[in-house]
């Protein structure tokens, strides 16, 4: 065994050709550093389990950013602390990959804390090897979240103080407190005996990946004699004396037995299938699409449609009165009638409980600005809407308002037709007061003759696919039509 960890595992490169400098056989790590041991244990396990082709390892920022100098499988270096997020992206899209994250303490417990906790909580399919040496290595020996109390570092020159700098963070304990992780263990590489246990833990975490069981976390207490300023041969003792009491070795979670392998994720749909999903049509090509257009007959241009170039509509009311939907209905009918159409909502916090409006433009020409400032048609569900938008009406315009709640006398405006419809009462009769918006659509439609029945059918059936809602809304629509019949027909728009 001792022999084995000294030889170069086959998941290491034969020659470290990527490493700069002359020496292509040793690592770039300092004498006594634990990374080399951890690397070897991982490489050995990957080789022994036959995972070289499937293994993908994420390198952190820190001394081990260069781990790809050594490993002979796929590797990626990612922004500081983000290894679990990047590996999540990899793990999800390659269900066959053996996903390995390798992080130091600054990387994982400081800047990357949110990423490791959330990846663990989601139970991402990955093995995380967390090398804890209680200090930042590469950047110059700064205090890490795992730095021991009173330990001096380049950013805690008076020793880490509990007050203000806190206690060392125990990542195994924190991660074991979540429900999704399958396996959490803390090991060390301070002695051959400890290293044997580390070896077993690393192999177990990788086996969990082979078995597709989920998230495994192995914390490895590891020497950093350079930044600790102790002799390499004293570093093991330093770990045992200083780290063991704070970071207790052991298994913090083991649900391997009771965890089932993850099922394979569903297949990604093909282009043809995606097109069908998005359109309800089975064809993915444009040629067939054109045929569909002429087949379904809904693109019927209304022969009796008034010769109108463009109409600017404002649909307004309280939030919850369905004025956004009303706008969508007008736009859908207009689209079906071969108008160019735009719909623009007012939105934001005011949409919860406040007033809301939507702007719709129907035009025979391509539409520039979708903003409606000068209004041809106003469908108003409440008083504030009338107050706000009446001054913006164009001459020749049409206002239909919900007289169920607007009971004030509406001031006449020159050249503007104003029609009251008791929309909420009619909707209530149709089965649901919330269909008041559709009552106004019926009235508008009847007063202008702008849309064919097919246009309106399309709009209603698209917006209300469920049978019950469809029925109520069709009744409401009819009530709106009926209410204005004979009264104000022939409105210009």
């Amino acid at each position: 065994m001792a022999d084995k960890t000294l030889s170069k595992p086959s998941a290491f490169q034969d020659v470290f050709a990527r490493k700069p400098g002359v020496d292509k056989s040793g690592t770039h790590y300092c004498a006594g550093c634990g990374h080399g041991v951890a690397h070897k244990l991982i490489a050995e396990a990957v080789a022994d389990f036959g995972l070289k082709d499937r293994a993908i390892i994420v390198a952190p920022v820190g001394c081990s950013v260069f781990l790809y100098y050594y490993f002979d499988f796929c590797a990626v270096s990612v922004p500081h602390g983000r290894a679990p997020a990047a590996l999540t992206g990899i793990s999800r899209v390659h269900p066959e990959a053996i996903c390995i994250s390798y992080q130091g303490d600054g990387d994982l417990a400081a800047i990357g804390l949110a990423e490791i906790i959330h990846a663990a909580n989601r139970g991402e399919r990955m093995a995380v090897f967390f090398v804890n040496n209680a200090i930042y290595g590469m950047t110059g020996g700064q205090m890490a979240p795992t730095t021991l109390v009173n330990m001096k570092t380049s950013t805690s020159p008076f020793g880490r103080q509990v007050e203000g700098e806190g206690h060392p963070m125990r990542m195994c304990e924190m991660i074991a407190g979540l429900e999704s992780p399958v396996y959490v263990e803390r090991v060390a590489v301070d002695s051959p005996q400890a290293t044997m246990k580390a070896r077993a833990a690393i192999r177990k975490a990788l086996k969990i990946q082979m078995e597709r069981k989920g998230f495994a976390f192995v914390e490895i207490l590891s020497p950093c004699p350079t930044q600790w300023r102790v002799a390499p041969d004293q570093a093991g003792e330093w770990i045992r004396e200083n780290m063991y009491p704070v970071f207790k070795l052991g298994v913090y979670r083991d649900k391997v037995q009771e965890t089932d392998p993850r099922p394979a994720p569903p297949e990604s749909l093909s282009a043809r299938e995606v097109y069908a999903l998005l359109t309800g049509e089975k064809d993915s090509g444009k040629a067939e699409t054109a045929q569909t257009d002429s087949n379904n007959g809904r693109h019927s241009k209304s022969p009796e449609a008034p010769a109108i170039d463009s109409i600017c509509c404002k649909l307004a009311g309280f939030g919850g009165q369905g004025v956004l939907t009303l706008g969508v209905l007008v736009a859908q009918a207009g689209m079906n009638a071969d108008y160019h159409v735009t719909w623009l909502p007012s939105y934001g916090p005011e949409s919860r409980g406040g007033t809301a409006n939507s702007s719709v433009i129907l035009s025979r020409e391509e539409i520039g600005s979708p903003v409606v400032n000068d209004i041809d048609v106003l469908l108003a569900m409440n008083v504030p809407s009338l107050e706000r938008f009446l001054p913006q009406m164009n001459r020749g315009g049409l206002v239909i308002y919900n007289s169920s709640i607007v009971q004030e006398e509406i001031e006449k405006r020159d050249g503007v037709k104003i029609v009251g419809v008791p929309a909420m009462d009619l909707a209530q009769t149709a089965g649901d007061v919330r269909a008041a918006n559709v009552v106004l659509l019926g009235a508008y439609s009847a007063l202008t003759g702008l849309f064919t029945n097919a246009d309106l059918d399309y709009a209603l059936s698209t917006s209300f696919p469920k049978p019950k809602a469809a029925e109520i809304n069709r009744k409401a629509f009819a009530a709106g039509v009926e209410h204005v019949k004979g009264k104000e027909e022939g409105a210009r728009i």
Partner: protein
């Protein structure tokens, strides 16, 4: 029928699915959230990955991972979220990972508000992250283009191994228009540089650290060569009634829609006005713009920010034509009438009516 009335934000999701995007990684933020909502609904149905990341930073790094794995992936956000992604975007550019980032701009700086803005132009176009990198930036102005440019973004990202922005705004994202659903494509499998669980890619490495200055210099110069190729090949713009124009309006996104209306209104009033609309903000269609310099007397740049694109127009035109500027900030957009009035002033015609005070020119910091 294949035409559907749809929000711009939803059209982005359609474009992504049609382009074979395999992973969407996002975080809630108004006014981009519908993209995540619709992706949450449709991606799983299409056997694709949707993850609501724990943060904007995690989201862009999930994209980094999925892209390094050789599949098409994306994220979407707005102002503050885009700022948080800047480190990740610099890394994506440095590692040459194809990826798509959608920015539905809102008003900044800070928390600002959720109305339309173009205050992220400098950030997105000049590089809000560190180092000498570039992203392609596409600027849709309709629901159709929200879909089409998202598809195009994936194509360009793969072709040039580069992050591509779709830079839109709250109006184009929130508005509905008919979408004529484009044909879907099956993208090619992972490229040979990708990390995949197969023997063929064994030992592939993706990194952006080059401690050796010679290697780093070669890498940075290689990136610049790629960018130069993109500048030669991928500029896109639209012009409208520019042929005989005395004044050309310049604007992108929702502003270009307003400018189009302004052109029509101006023409009705006898003012010879045209529209130049960049569809790629980087690379900017400089050559196409410069075709008009000399022949056209003036340019009027209209933006929803403190004057960002206008600096580039000045740089390109290099003093050969007067460049005028008009803006609204805070969430307002100028009306076509206000633009026409400004055009009338520039062209030296009598003013027809007073315009609102705030829409007039403000000082433009450089």
């Amino acid at each position: 029928m294949s035409k559907q009335l749809m929000k711009g934000n939803d059209a982005v999701v359609c474009g992504a699915l049609l382009a074979g995007c395999r992973g969407f990684f996002g975080y809630p933020i108004t006014p981009a959230s519908e993209i995540a909502h619709t992706a949450a609904l449709l991606f799983p149905q299409a056997g694709r990955i949707f993850i609501q990341a724990e943060s904007e930073v995690a989201a862009i790094n999930m994209v980094y991972g999925a892209s390094s794995a050789g599949v098409r992936s994306m994220t979407a956000s707005s102002g503050p979220g885009i700022s948080l992604k800047m480190e990740g975007i610099s890394y994506l550019a440095a590692s040459e990972l194809p990826s798509v980032i959608v920015d539905i701009s809102r008003v900044g700086p800070g928390l600002g508000n959720i109305y339309p803005s173009q205050g992220d132009y400098n950030q997105v176009v000049k590089g809000g992250g560190h180092g000498s990198y570039r992203c392609i930036v596409l600027s849709p102005n309709s629901v159709q283009e929200m879909c089409d440019f998202t598809m195009l973004a994936f194509e360009l990202a793969d072709r040039y191994r580069i992050p591509v922005f779709v830079l839109s705004d709250a109006y184009v994202g929130q508005m509905m228009e008919p979408l004529d659903m484009p044909a879907a494509i099956d993208p090619p499998g992972p490229p040979d540089w990708a990390l995949t669980p197969e023997a063929a890619t064994n030992g592939n490495v993706i990194t952006s650290i080059f401690l050796n200055p010679e290697e780093m210099e070669a890498h940075v110069l290689h990136l610049q060569e790629n960018y130069a190729g993109i500048q030669r090949q991928e500029t896109r713009c639209e012009t409208y009634r520019c042929e005989d124009a005395d004044l050309i309006l310049v604007g992108f996104g929702i502003v270009s829609r307003i400018l189009r209306s302004a052109v029509d209104q101006a023409r009705e009033q006898g003012l010879k006005v045209g529209l130049f609309r960049p569809q790629t903000l980087w690379p900017f269609p400089e050559t196409q713009l410069l075709e008009h310099v000399g022949r056209v007397h003036d340019f009027l740049v209209v933006e929803l920010n403190n004057g960002q694109l206008v600096q580039d127009i000045k740089l390109f035109v290099a003093g050969r034509s007067p460049i005028h500027f008009m803006n609204r900030v805070g969430g307002f957009v100028p009306s076509p009438e206000e633009v026409v009035e400004k055009a009338r002033q520039i062209l030296g015609k009598d003013a027809a009516a007073p315009v609102r005070e705030k829409s007039s020119e403000v000082s433009v910091p450089k």
